[in-house]
């Protein structure tokens, strides 16, 4: 197990005042997110969709599961983001022998100043703002489930005592889809707690050349923090005020229900899907749509936002049946087909 705790970032910007009108704050949000993108792009070449998804999840208050082959810059992305947003950063390398106490902390005997020994809570690496759970599928389900309460409730309970986590709390987990030997696939309950599941693609030719130029020339990249924790929390508050038109919300409901095999109206889901999206999927679509609208300079959620976020929001919330696996169907193409039928 490798855990490292980073330093808290500098507070270079003042958070927006709560009483200030949201319009300027929304513009401020879009502006700041643009700056974060630029800082991240100093270290991360390409992967714009992944960066955008990570930023949207950060503003929406969710967690991200990054899936990609080794060497694609997943860990680098998380570390760069931590530097750009000036948040406390921890990294846990998940291994089969990792225990829950190694994640959330444990009670240890501490000697007080008067010579008496008392049981004191030693916080684990989960007590941070930005947690990188590297190769999370290599740990046992027992250890994986140690993150459940932290991710959803933003607290951990040790020895009948609950300890609140600092806000913002943002978990970025990575997993390798290739080496499945000796891994423990994440249970559905834990998968559902991730706002997005982002697939890190292999870089293209131009991006690969750029990566080689940057990483082999001996130059170091300095990432400056452009936003801090309180600002992120204020942005999260602003995000939730973005209005949604009824027909957009109705579309989200239709899309979510269409992933369920129980519905008679969708033969595709009945044939290939064993379990459909949870209500968290619909929440993710709306919340992510709000963030995306603000980042695009809009003040309303559109159908395009929902369609753009459909795959990262729902692909890990759908369980395919054996027939889908036998036919080589994936969640992504099934979701595309379902969305196409809905209109």
């Amino acid at each position: 197990m490798t855990a490292s705790v980073g330093t808290e970032g500098q507070k270079s910007n003042q958070p927006a005042a709560p009483g200030q009108p949201l319009g300027p704050q929304a513009e401020f949000l879009a502006e700041k997110m643009g700056e974060v993108r630029r800082e991240i792009s100093k270290a991360i070449v390409g992967q714009s969709e992944v960066v955008e998804g990570v930023l949207m999840a950060l503003l929406a208050g969710g967690h991200v599961l990054l899936e990609g082959a080794p060497g694609l810059g997943k860990t680098m992305l998380v570390r760069t983001l931590a530097q750009a947003v000036a948040l406390k950063y921890s990294r846990i390398q998940f291994t089969p022998d990792l225990m829950p106490a190694d994640v959330i902390g444990t009670s240890v005997v501490q000697e007080s100043g008067d010579g008496t020994n008392t049981l004191g809570f030693q916080p684990g690496p989960v007590f941070t703002n930005l947690l990188l759970a590297d190769e999370i599928n290599r740990a046992t389900p027992k250890t994986q489930s140690a993150l459940l309460e932290a991710m959803q409730e933003k607290q951990v309970t040790v020895a009948h005592t609950s300890h609140q986590l600092d806000e913002p709390f943002f978990v970025m987990a990575t997993q390798n889809p290739l080496e499945m030997e000796g891994t423990y696939p994440l249970p559905e309950a834990q998968l559902d707690r991730f706002l997005f599941k982002l697939r890190v693609p292999f870089p293209g030719r131009a991006d690969l050349n750029d990566i080689l130029d940057r990483t082999t020339a001996g130059t170091t990249v300095q990432v400056h923090p452009v936003i801090n924790g309180p600002q992120i929390m204020e942005m999260r508050r602003i995000v939730r005020t973005v209005p949604v038109a009824p027909h957009v919300q109705e579309y989200v409901v239709k899309l979510t229900l269409a992933t369920h095999p129980e519905g008679r109206e969708n033969a595709l889901a009945t044939k290939y899907i064993r379990y459909g999206s949870s209500p968290r999927g619909a929440q993710t679509l709306i919340l992510g749509g709000k963030v995306r609208a603000l980042l695009a300079g809009r003040f309303n959620v559109s159908l395009e936002d929902i369609k753009a976020l459909m795959l990262p929001s729902l692909r890990h919330r759908i369980i395919l049946n054996f027939e889908a696996q036998a036919d080589g169907r994936t969640t992504d193409d099934l979701l595309e087909e379902i969305a196409g039928k809905i209109g």
């Binding site: 319009g23 957009v248 309303n300 959620v301 159908l303």
Partner: protein
Amino acid sequence: MRFGNTIIQPASGDVAGKAAFSALREAWAGFSSANRTTGQANLTTLQRDLDKQNCPPELYGIIDSLKAIRQRIVTNTLLAGWTEWSICILIGLVVAGTVSSHLNIVLALALLLAVIGVAAITVWIWRNRLSTYETACRLDGAAGLQDRVSTAIFLSDSRDPLGMIQQQRKDAVARVAKVDSRALFPLQMPATAVHALVLLLVFGGLFVYRINHRAPLVSLLRSTARSSLVQSIFTPIVHAMEKDLERTIALVTLKPELQPDEVRPGEALPVADDLWQPAEEKAPDTKDAEPQEMADEHGDQQGQPKGQGNPNAMPPSDEQQQQGDPNGQPQEGKQSDAQGQQSNQQSLTKAMMDALKKMMSNPKDQQKGNQQQNPQNMQQGGAQPPGATESDKKGDSKGSSDQKQNASKSAGSGAGSQEGTKEMLKGQPAKPVNAVPDRVALEASGYKEQTRMRVDTETGTAHMATQGASPQTEAVINGAEQENIPARYRLYVQRYFEHADSGSH
């Protein structure tokens, strides 16, 4: 009966009718209000007309734009609906003007239907016209505004404590100002307007034609019916159909009379002389014959009245009884009529003989089947089937059919072939038609020393030993084999072998 919350109970008189009407009206009102409530519950912004007074002033421009767009959409929908209806009316008018002789009534009816249809379409479209919110959605989709306008309309009556809605309105108004709604939603003619115009021209021409002429289709049909071409086409067909009908009637009349000729064990065999009469001796133009009567006549001429020689035979027909021979004795007066009928029946007999020959003239199958089925016959070899000639001995299958013809010829010549009038007796009363038995009641054990015959499973195909076949002592015609012979040919097949058997002795 229950409509919504209203219970309608049957009653009598005007009171019941009024009560039922009022109950129906209330039920409809309740249904309509329920629909409206449901619609409002699902989409709160589906109200037809957005009240400007409840909207913020900055949205007035958007509302006016949406109103203009909605009017254009409704106008286009009305034009499309009216055009479709007019096409239906015009098609009906063209058809009616083509076939109907009362054009005035048709025009009046079409006018009435057009007015009713246009009114119904107008009401229907107006009732289902787009709401302001739906129009905003259309505008968003057409102009790529990413749901800005629809969201602004949806939030038009919302309070804005945080300022986000205000920002959204400003954004929407700014975007709508850049959109040319007239270009996006133009007034356009329906796609089917050309069809309607063509139909209108067609009907106009037809109307002008009808002023001085009658319905063109009726005139066309009448002139066509009179034309010599149609007459030349249909006359032969009608004539052939008449012939077929008469032949069928004769055949049906024949069958019940065949039953007395059924051979039973121990009975004397009737002579089917005319069946074996050569085709050359028969009159080619005779038709509609009744072979059974002819066979009866021959039996009478040979001095073998049915009543005496065959006590178990069925009684003669009613016509014969009226002619005065209840005991089956030969009469001279009856003979002349029978001769006339005989000549008329020869054509049918010929047709049946041809069918029988065709049925029995499959040389390869006969030869193969006889070789397989009757190896003993092949070995015996010395004896020949009745009527066999040298061609049979040589194994010429073709010769077997010829031989059968020869046998028929010889049998016909010796069985009382007679000359008769070849005119068809049209005045002859129809014979009573009895039920035709599907299976001829034959008992194979009663047949002695007959040619072994094998009946193939294929209907109407009989295989006979024609090469090296020898007469057998027993007939092997059993019920199972007879089932494969069509009922109308069984008697002839039976007679054939009976005749051959008697000839060999």
